[in-house]
């Protein structure tokens, strides 16, 4: 199966990634595309930018491990994961997940699985910059959310749910 895992500083083009996955294929019946975008506010404060730090080498390996896990779990016909790093301003894309399958259920589930794991297991850290007022630190590391851990946990066998694919 064709799998693309890429980390890059530059913006990506979601449409061309989808096109690369499905071009010339008659077996693909469903493509799910998820794009994560930098919002313009975080906890109500206007955001100037976000900087994504990553662990080169491990980030690619960790994403590839989860792509392989998704392939074992669902009959996928193509996967692309692109994650940006560096400074990203509101409105810009951060991450792209594309999954292709014969049927939509597999494509939807695999895309959600990959995103849940990217959030909690891929070695990336977001630091956000606020429009500083001079009084407070205008940069802040984003705290991990327990709700993201819970979303990732639901895919593991011990949680019982959704484990029987």
């Amino acid at each position: 199966m064709a799998a693309t895992v890429r980390l890059q500083r530059e913006p990506f083009d979601a449409a061309s990634e989808v096109d690369k996955l499905r071009r010339g294929r008659g077996d693909i019946g469903a493509v799910v595309t998820f794009t994560g975008i930098c919002r313009s506010d975080e906890t109500g404060a206007p955001l100037l930018a976000m900087t994504l730090e990553h662990y080169p080498g491990m980030a690619e390996a960790e994403i590839a491990r989860h792509v392989e896990a998704a392939e074992r779990r669902w009959p996928l016909l193509g996967v692309a994961v692109i994650h940006r790093y560096g400074r990203i301003v509101p409105g810009e894309d951060i991450v792209l997940v594309v999954t292709a399958a014969a049927h939509r259920q597999d494509a939807f589930a695999a895309a959600e699985f990959l995103m849940d794991y990217l959030k909690t297991r891929a070695p990336f850290w977001k630091q956000i910059e606020f429009a500083g007022d001079g009084r407070t630190d205008a940069k802040m590391w984003v705290d991990a959310k327990q709700s993201d851990d819970a979303l990732a946990d639901r895919w593991t066998a011990s949680s019982g749910r959704r484990a029987a694919e």
């Binding site: 390996a61 959030k119 070695p123 850290w125 590391w141």
Partner: protein, 83 residues
């Protein structure tokens, strides 16, 4: 052995990486964290709450009780916030 630090762990320690000679008796990730914590204020600050610190050995996630024998590169970082 190479140690690497990321995000606020890196900022608190004040460097992205360093080479160390592993002292005798340090066999697990948790041992290493405890030993590092005693190396100075910056380390004590970075590792003040060991429960939130995540670790990787040779670019794969490990738990605090993981053995570090034979590791080439050990990384410490906060919980991840990608995606």
């Amino acid at each position: 052995m190479k140690l690497r630090y990321f995000a606020w762990v890196r900022e608190r320690i004040g460097k992205p990486e360093e080479e160390i000679e592993l002292p005798a008796g340090i066999t697990t990730v948790a041992d290493l964290v405890a030993w590092l914590s005693q190396r100075g204020e910056e380390y004590a600050h970075a590792f003040e709450n060991p429960k939130v610190i995540r670790a990787a050995i040779d670019r794969a996630h490990v738990r605090a009780d993981a053995a570090i024998l034979g590791a080439h590169e050990i990384a410490f970082f906060p919980p991840m916030t990608g995606g």
